[in-house]
């Protein structure tokens, strides 16, 4: 049994201090690798990272394409696109998306990007790739569970994908799936089998995420190499640790909310349902509370946005320090602010519910706690800027995307202060202002962090570089395009334009935005095409990219660059290097950089 093998290798890792024990784990053990065990059911964290990344890329293309489709409707409500009918069939009769299809597209866009791309694709990829490499471990604490984590994600993906092809269509009640709409099959066609598949897929997804997070935490806390104390870890590892803690503590609560919803759908229970009329019929359900679901959902839902953004923050910190040739500014403040964000993440969920009839007195506490998040966020922004301040900046696609991340995090974060106020939220909730806020601060920023990570660690993943020119084109169009898409939405939101509407032409007050809507949709198409350029660059570079000639292409201090260009399972051919210093000794004592493996010399200045 595979688990047996895992247990044995763990034993040898732990008790075998002699070289022989390591040689066994790193090499002899994996001699007879077949195609299946190397590429499909792989237990190598690096391969699992690639599996997460490529699955995430496929989902990202689908999710982003859905946004192009519904932006066509929003931008050009009167136009017809006959090609839509040929791909969507009766969902786009006469070349115009039907309202049902519109809601399905919006729902799936949100679900796919929040969970399948920015959670699994982002933290699944980089936690897997970087944790063992940067803490100095041969693999995860349990490679078998790690493999299961990917295959649960894959199964969740298959179920979600299959829901796109059922007759009544996928879930269409919004990515939050609020009951009673999501609980009653008669209420909307998207609440029929599509909703069940959505819930099953999400339950599998939660399992995948938990298995992954368990491994990340125990690997970071247990399997660091000699000398790698917690305060010597790169900030990437800290961010992955906090992300995993958030996931482990918040996803189970979401699962319990889903379980109750499933019982309401099929068990005849009334957890969320009370005194309802559907199609003129009175339902027997009594005594439930739809708000209960919102509490359970947002208890995950809010930490979820930090699950998305924290890994991006960690990678950006690392990439900015490497490419400015300067130590990160305020390392402990960075760790402390991530810790503060992690704690506060659990205490602010009700700011999504200010207008549900929440007691205003209670609301005041949530306003206060929400606004408190501005403090650690501001500390981080300050430290990123002071890190690159007067640095010897190398403008690579990775460092550009990192700087872009700081920009979008600031401009999206500032609108969070508006929305966090319960009084202003009465006007702004469920408008395009909210769309603009969370797309910039969470969507675009997290994507920038992800792009930065892909460009920066691509050489470690595939032993080749990605094309830099295509990277620059990708960055500039994406940065300008993202602002052009989401900035105008602030104005629409302040004018009161509600989100999730299919057609605004019946409202005279929103007619002024006709041109703006068309403009946004036009930019969306250009930005989408640019992302395909990135996808091309990614896959082309895997096979044809410029080959690495050195193990440490970015002249970085961290451990992953001490491995061979194409490391095997076990990462280091010999012994795992010992760590003597923190990860940010750049431009110190006249040296460009000092790797973590170099012992501290007696005449060195302190840091």
């Amino acid at each position: 049994m595979s688990n047996e093998a895992t247990l044995h290798s763990q034993e040898s890792l732990h008790h075998g201090h002699d070289d022989h024990g390591h040689g066994h784990d790193g090499h002899d053990h994996h001699h007879e690798e077949t195609f299946i065990s190397k590429y499909v059911f792989s237990m190598d964290h690096k391969m699992i990272a690639k599996q997460f990344l490529i699955t995430g890329i496929i989902w990202a293309i689908i999710g982003a394409f859905f946004s192009v489709l519904f932006r066509l409707q929003l931008g050009f409500p009167d136009a017809t696109f006959p090609w839509l009918e040929s791909i969507l069939g009766h969902w786009a009769e006469g070349g115009r998306i039907t309202p049902e299809a519109y809601y399905a597209l919006v729902t799936m866009h949100g679900t796919i990007l929040v969970f399948f791309v920015l959670t699994a694709g982002l933290s699944g990829t980089f936690s897997n790739l970087l944790i063992p490499l940067q803490v100095g471990a041969r693999d995860m604490a349990s490679p078998f569970m790690n493999m299961l984590s990917y295959w649960f994600f894959f199964t969740a993906s298959l179920v979600m994908m299959s829901s796109l092809f059922v007759q009544t269509g996928p879930a269409s009640g919004g990515w939050t799936s609020y009951p009673p709409l999501s609980a009653l099959g008669d209420a909307s066609i998207g609440s029929k089998i599509g909703m069940d598949l959505w819930l099953i897929s999400m339950a599998l997804f939660v399992v995948s995420s938990l298995l992954g997070s368990l491994n990340y935490i125990s690997t970071i806390l247990n399997m660091r190499t000699k000398g790698m104390s917690m305060t010597k870890m790169p900030l990437t590892i800290w961010s992955f640790l906090f992300t995993a803690v958030l996931g482990v503590l918040s996803f189970p609560v979401l699962l319990s909310g889903f379980v109750l919803l499933l019982f309401d759908r099929h068990g005849g229970t009334s957890f969320y349902l009370s005194e309802l009329f559907v199609q003129g019929k009175v339902l027997p359900n009594e005594g439930g509370s739809a708000i209960l679901y919102q509490h359970l959902f947002w208890f995950l839902g809010h930490p979820e946005v930090y699950i998305i953004i924290l890994p991006a923050m960690g990678m950006v910190s690392e990439i900015l320090a490497v490419n400015s040739r300067k130590p990160i500014f305020g390392y402990l403040a960075m760790v402390g602010s991530m810790f503060a964000i992690t704690v506060l993440a659990f205490l602010v969920w009700a700011h999504h519910m200010f207008v549900t009839g929440l007691n205003p007195f209670l609301g005041a506490f949530f306003v206060l706690l929400t606004l408190l998040i501005a403090v650690p966020s501001a500390i981080k922004v300050f430290n990123w800027i002071t890190t690159i301040w007067r640095g010897n900046i190398r403008f690579t696609p990775a460092s550009l995307f990192s700087i872009g991340f700081v920009s979008t995090f600031i401009s999206g974060g500032l609108t969070g202060i508006w929305l966090g106020n319960s009084a202003i939220d009465i006007h702004l909730h469920d408008t395009y202002f909210v769309i603009a806020h969370f797309h910039i601060v969470m969507g675009v920023s997290a994507f920038f962090g992800m792009f930065a990570g892909v460009y920066h660690w691509f050489p470690k993943m595939y032993g080749r570089y990605m094309n830099q020119t295509l990277g620059f084109i990708h960055f500039w169009i994406t940065l300008v395009g993202a602002y052009l898409i989401f900035w105008p939405m602030h104005y629409q939101g302040m004018a009161g334009m509600p989100r999730r509407y299919f057609d605004y032409s019946n409202w005279a007050s929103f007619n002024q935005f006709e041109g703006l809507n068309a403009f946004i949709s036009f930019v969306v198409i250009i930005v989408f095409a640019t992302q395909l350029l990135f996808v091309f660059n990614f896959f082309y570079s895997i096979f044809k990219g410029r080959k690495l000639t050195t193990t440490n292409p970015w002249a970085a201090t961290t451990l992953e660059w001490t491995t061979p260009i194409n490391p095997g399972h076990g990462n280091w051919p010999g012994e795992i290097p010992e760590v003597h210093r923190w990860a940010y000794d750049y431009s110190k004592d006249g040296k460009d950089f000092i790797p973590q493996t170099v012992p501290v010399s007696p005449d060195e200045s302190g840091h």
Partner: protein, 187 residues
């Protein structure tokens, strides 16, 4: 020395993962029970007596905690036949627990409180049911260990699996005690 040198006093990674998993499971039940508390404070809450058989199942799961503790001691003493008997007994007690919970469900139903009746009863079914699934997971683990104990080709002398299983088993037992006290107090 450039070797990987994990300090001996550190927890085994699998034990560590188990503790995190238990924290995670705890959060799920905190989610359930806080939903229960929120609902209870609202209108239309119907209070009723818990099925008496739940106290029988409590005794069973407490006994099984004792037997798995003894199993661990026998394993360390390499007393394999006693070990096998004790984990079998533990698994049987676990199954007995599950059966008792289902009898409890049948009691509720015959008292006019099926799953789809009042919300307070629905919560009992769902929360107790979710706990039963976690107990069954523990039973499955015990069965795997039982089969392993009979293998002659590969012999395992590591105490980690029995320690992990034992900790988990005490955990689901403790979880049930928590739920029972919770249901009794917050009726």
């Amino acid at each position: 020395m450039m070797t990987m040198n994990a300090p001996k006093n550190k927890l085994h990674p699998h034990k560590y993962s188990l503790w995190i998993a238990m924290a995670s499971i705890t959060m799920m039940f905190i989610g359930f029970t806080s939903a229960y508390v929120v609902k209870r404070s609202q209108a239309n809450w119907l209070a009723f007596e818990l099925p008496a058989i739940f106290y029988v199942s409590t005794v069973l799961i407490l006994l099984s905690s004792l037997t798995i503790y003894l199993a661990g001691r026998q394993f360390k003493a390499r007393n394999m036949s006693a070990y096998k008997q004790l984990i079998t007994l533990t698994a049987l007690l676990g199954l007995g627990f599950v059966v008792c919970q289902f009898i409890g469900f049948a009691d509720l139903k015959s008292n006019g409180l099926p799953l789809s009746s009042t919300v307070s009863a629905s919560f009992i079914y769902v929360i107790v049911g979710a706990h039963v699934l976690h107990v069954l997971g523990g039973v499955a683990v015990l069965m795997v260990m039982f089969v392993r104990a009979f293998r002659t080709r590969i012999r395992t002398y590591s105490t980690i699996p029995i320690e992990v299983a034992s900790t988990y088993w005490h955990f689901v037992g403790g979880l049930w005690i928590y739920l029972l006290i919770f249901f009794s107090l917050a009726r």
